[in-house]
C-alpha cells in the first residue's frame, strides 16, 4: 500500500545530522552551551495535471545542545538560554508553556485531492493547532491570528488520530491526554500572519528563498497554507543525540495560465513576481527541486537552465523524480529565474485519482423532519487493497448528533468507535473518532444525523451571511510502505549532505558523551507510539496510528 499522505516522514527521524559547531573551545567540560544548529531552505515545485502549479517552501532549523538533549530524553520542559538560529520569540513560548511538540497551520482555500493528489504537508482551511502537553495561546500574539478563540468547546484529545511525530516512548505517545487538537475553520489568513511568520526565519526576508515570498502572488493563489512544526527528532539510530526541529513551511497552488496561449509555462518570476537573487548565508542547504516524475526526459516541459542533478526514488506508483538546483551555485551569476516551457498546449484529461478520497457534505434542508440533517461522508478506496483508516470528526456543541440513526451504508465494512465524547452545552464539543475498514475498490458512506440547538443571541458568530463553519474532518491512515511524496527525497538528500560534513563532529560528540541511559528506555519509535506492544486493543491502534491525510472539509453554512 502506498501513498497515503505524508505528514510524517518516518525514515527521516534517523537521518539528520548536525553540523556547525560555533564555539569550539570548552573551558570547563559540561558547562559550555554549544550552538549546534543548522538551517536549510528548500523549495519544491510540482506542476499538477490540472494545470495548476504547486510550490512548497520548507525552512528547517535544527538545534541541539546539552540542555535540549536532556529535556527531550527525560521529558522535561525545554530550557533555552542562548539562542542562535532558533527564533527566540517562539522559543520563549515553548519554554513557558511546556510544549514538547507543536504543529500550527493557517490555511486559505481547499486542497483538491481528486485533482491535485496529496500535498507535502496537509492542512485544513482556517487555523489548525495541535500541541503536546499544553495549549498555547501566546501563539496568537506571535502570529497575529485569533487563536485566542480556542477554548474548551473546540479543543479535543483524540484517542488514535494525531500521535506525536517526534521521538517519544510508547507510553508517552499513547497517552492521548497530553495532546490537544483544535481547529478554527473561520480563521482568515493574510499578510498580518505572514509577516510575523517570516520574522522567525534567521535571514528574515533579507536574503534567500524567503525573498520570493511577496504577499500579492501568495494571497491571490488558489490554495495557500502557512505552517510551523516543532518536534524533537533523532539524529542517529541509537538516539543518542536528539535534536529539536523547527520546520516553517508555506504551500501554494497557483494557476498562471495564459488563456490565449494555453500553455502551463511558469517561471520563478511569474510564480512569485521575483527571481531568486540571493541565498541565505546562514543556510547549509539552499535548493530548488522540480518534480519531473512524468517528465524525466524533459519532453512535456523543458527546464531552463537544465537541471544539474536528477534524483529518482521509489518504485511503481510511488516513483518520484526530482530535478535539483543548488541555489548557491546559481545565484553567483546574477538573478536566477528558473523557467519551465511547454511546447504543447495543456490538455485537460482524466486525472488518476489518489488511492483514498474522502468527501463530506451536508444533506437535508429546510425544517421538515424537525430540521434534522446529516453529515454524509463518502470514503472511496480506489486501490486493490483493503484500507483501515481512522476518521475523526470534531463538531461544535450546538449541533445535536443522533448516533442511534447514524450508519454506514456499506454493510461489510467493519467499524469501531475508538473514542466518543459527547458535547455539553457551552462547555465542550463533540469528538467522534471511528476506525473503518474499507474493502478494495469500494465506496463507503457514513451518515451522521444532527439537529441544531438554539443559541443565545450573543453566541451567533458575526457576519450572518457566512453561517456557521464546521471544522474539517480528518482521515488518517498508517503508511505501510515507506512511500514517497516529495519531501522524503529531499530529506534523504539533506541527510546525505549533512552527514558528509558532520562526520568529524559526530565522532567528537560520541566521545564526550556517555550513554547514561539504557537505550531501551527511550524507544526511538520510528512509527511513533511504536514499540512492541502486546496489550489488547493496541494492535488496532498500531495499525491505525500512523500518517494522516487531512481530508476534505465542508465549509458549511446553516441558514440563520
Amino acid at each position: 500500500m502506498n501513498v497515503i499522505g505524508i505528514r510524517m516522514r518516518p525514515e527521516t527521524l534517523f537521518y539528520f545530522n548536525i553540523i556547525f559547531v560555533v564555539n569550539c573551545f570548552q573551558l570547563i567540560i559540561g558547562s559550555v552551551e554549544d550552538y549546534n544548529n543548522a538551517f536549510s531552505e528548500e523549495l519544491l515545485i510540482r506542476p499538477l495535471p490540472s494545470g495548476h502549479v504547486y510550490s512548497h517552501f520548507e525552512f528547517t532549523t535544527l538545534w541541539t545542545n546539552k540542555r535540549i538533549k536532556e529535556s527531550i530524553l527525560n521529558y522535561k520542559d525545554f530550557d533555552f538560554v542562548h539562542y542562535d538560529l532558533f527564533p527566540r520569540a517562539f522559543g520563549e513560548i515553548v519554554e513557558r508553556y511546556h510544549v514538547r511538540e507543536l504543529h500550527l497551520s493557517l490555511t486559505q482555500g481547499l486542497w483538491r485531492y481528486h485533482k491535485w493528489g496529496y500535498p507535502v504537508v496537509e492542512a485544513p482551511p482556517g487555523a489548525q493547532l495541535w500541541t503536546w502537553k499544553d495549549l498555547v495561546n501566546a501563539l496568537s500574539g506571535l502570529f497575529c491570528a485569533s487563536l485566542n478563540f480556542i477554548d474548551s468547546t473546540n479543543t479535543v484529545s483524540p484517542e488514535l488520530s494525531f500521535r506525536p511525530l517526534g521521538i517519544t516512548n510508547p507510553s508517552y505517545s499513547q497517552n492521548s491526554s497530553l495532546m490537544r487538537y483544535t481547529a478554527l475553520p473561520r480563521e482568515n489568513v493574510c499578510t498580518e500572519n505572514l509577516t510575523p511568520w517570516k520574522k522567525l526565519l534567521p535571514c528574515d526576508t533579507k536574503s534567500g528563498l524567503s525573498t520570493l515570498l511577496h504577499p500579492t502572488p501568495l494571497y491571490s493563489a488558489y490554495y495557500h497554507s502557512l505552517s510551523l512544526h516543532m518536534r524533537p527528532i533523532c539524529e542517529d539510530k541509537d538516539c543518542r543525540t536528539p535534536v529539536l526541529e523547527l520546520v516553517q513551511s508555506l504551500s501554494l497552488v497557483q494557476k498562471l495560465f495564459n488563456e490565449m496561449d494555453g500553455r502551463q509555462d511558469w517561471t520563478l518570476r511569474s510564480l512569485f513576481s521575483a527571481p531568486l537573487i540571493s541565498v541565505c548565508p546562514l543556510s547549509k542547504i539552499s535548493k530548488i527541486y522540480v518534480d519531473i516524475t512524468e517528465n524525466e526526459n524533459l519532453e512535456i516541459f523543458k527546464l531552463d537552465p537544465l537541471p544539474p542533478n536528477v534524483e529518482t526514488q521509489g518504485e511503481g506508483t510511488a516513483k518520484r523524480s526530482l530535478a535539483i538546483y543548488d541555489n548557491l551555485m546559481l545565484v553567483k551569476d546574477g538573478p536566477f529565474n528558473l523557467q519551465a516551457r511547454y511546447p504543447n498546449k495543456h490538455i485537460y484529461g482524466i486525472i488518476p485519482v489518489p488511492s483514498l478520497q474522502v468527501s463530506r457534505f451536508i444533506t437535508g434542508h429546510g425544517l421538515e423532519r424537525g430540521s434534522i440533517r446529516s453529515i454524509t461522508v463518502k470514503l472511496v478506496n480506489s486501490c486493490p487493497n483493503q484500507l483501515t483508516v481512522t476518521y475523526l470528526e470534531v463538531l461544535p456543541w450546538y449541533l445535536r448528533l443522533f448516533f442511534h440513526t447514524s450508519h454506514f451504508l456499506l454493510p461489510e465494512s467493519s467499524m469501531y468507535v475508538s473514542k466518543l465524547v459527547t458535547a455539553r452545552d457551552r462547555e465542550r464539543g463533540w469528538l467522534y473518532e471511528v476506525v473503518v475498514t474499507l474493502p478494495p475498490h469500494s465506496t463507503t458512506e457514513m451518515q451522521l444525523e444532527f439537529g441544531r440547538a438554539l443559541l443565545k443571541w450573543l453566541e451567533y458568530p458575526p457576519d450572518a451571511n457566512h453561517g456557521f463553519y464546521i471544522p474539517s474532518a480528518l482521515t488518517m491512515k498508517k503508511l505501510e510502505s515507506k512511500s514517497f511524496l516529495g519531501m522524503k527525497i529531499i530529506d534523504k538528500l539533506k541527510s546525505k549532505f549533512l552527514k558528509k560534513k558532520s562526520k568529524e563532529e559526530e565522532s567528537k560528540e560520541e566521545l564526550s558523551q556517555k550513554p547514561s541511559e539504557d537505550p531501551k528506555d527511550k524507544d526511538k519509535d520510528e512509527d511513533r507510539g511504536g514499540g512492541e506492544e502486546n496489550k489488547k486493543g493496541i494492535t488496532l491502534r498500531k495499525r491505525v496510528k500512523e500518517v494522516h491525510s487531512i481530508k476534505d472539509l465542508a465549509i458549511y453554512s446553516l441558514a440563520v
Binding site: 539562542y83 542562535d84 527566540r88 520563549e92 513560548i93 513557558r96 520574522k199 533579507k206
Partner: protein, 390 residues
Amino acid sequence: MLAKEILFFINPDVDLNILTETIHAMTFNPSANLNPSKDLKITKEIIQNKGIKAMRQVPTEPAYDVTLTLMLPQPHFLKAEWDVSAAVKDYLDPLVDELKDIVELRIRSQILYMTSMRINPKWSSNYKHYSLPEKQLPLTINSIEAKLGSFVSTRPSLHFIVYIPSDLQTPLYIHRNDGTPLESNSFLIPRWGGIMIHNPPEKLIEKKGNSSLPLTFQIDSQWVMKTVIFHLHKLFPIPSLNEKDVKYTEQIYANSLTDWQINGLARARVLSYLNSIKITLQSLCDLVGEISNMVVSDEVAGWVWSAVDDWKLCLDASQEGRLEEATAFCKRAFVSSDAAFFHPSMLALLYFPDNQKYAIYVPLFLPVSIPVVLSFRTVFKLLNFKAKKD
C-alpha cells in the same frame, strides 16, 4: 546577606571632615534613606532635582529579563564568534548571585542576523573612521526593537546589544557633540538597556580583499561584559561613590559589590516599592470609588487585602532596618497589588462614569422628546377646540 550593621575600617591618620563626607555618601544616600510614609513629596522633589539620573532608573519590579543580543548585519561577510555561556558564567552570574535577594535577573542571549540599525555614520577624515554623532543615538533602536523581544513574559526586559557594524561602516565610533570619539564606544538607553559597538579587529578588515569570506573574529568578552555590568549598575542604580570619595577608600573587592552598595540598593528599592504599591492601590481605590457599580470579585479583594497587609509589614521592617524581610514583604505586596489592579475581571464589563451616561443619553433623548413635547400642544389645542365646541 543584607547586613544591618556595617563595620568601617578607618585609617587613624584620616582627616575627619573627609571621613564624615565619605560615610555620609555611603550611608545617607538621599534617595535611600527616606521615611516613605510621610515623605512622598520629598522623593518627588529629589527626582526633580536629580533629573536625568532618576529617569534612567528601571521601574522597580521583583524580576527582570536581561537579554544579550549579538547583531550581525552581514553574516556572509563578517562572522563573530562569541562564547556567550562562558561570558555569562564568568561575568554576569556572580552579579546575579549577589543580587538574588533583592532582584531576580533572568539572562538570555540571542543572535540576530541580517538586521541592521538605521544609522547614517559619516567618514571622519581626522580620525580615519566612521563617526556616529551623538544626536543619532536616540533613533538607533527604533528599527530593531520589533525583532528583539518576546511576547510571553510580563517582566520588564533589559536589552544589551552588541552591534557589529556592516561592511561600509567599519570601523564605527560614537562621537560626542564636540566631535571627539567616545572611548567606551557604547551608550546607555534609559530604562531600556545599552548598546555597544564592537568593531572587528583592524587587521582583519585590512585583509578583507585577499581572504575567503566570511571573515571570522572573536568577540572581546571582557570589554562587552564589563560594559554590560557598568550599564546594569547605572540602570538599577547600584549606589557608588563619587570620584572624589573613591580616592579615600580602599577598593578591596573591586569585582564584587560591597555590603553597603547592596544595602543601599535594597533600601532604595524598598522605598520605591512602598511608593509604587501605594500608588497602585490608591488608583484602584479611586477607580472603584468613581464607578459606583463596579463589581469587585472576592479574589481581587483578597489580593488587595494581602497587598495592604504585606505593605504594612514591609514598612515596619524597613523602619526597623530589617532590609531583607522588608524586601521580601514588599515583593509580595507588589505582586498582589499588581494582580489586583490588572485582574481580568476588573475589565470584564464596560463601566461608564455617571457624567458619561448623561453625555450618551442626553443627545439621544433630547431630540426624541422634542416632537413628544410639541405634540402636547396639539393635544391641548384639540381639547380646547372641543371645549369651545361644546
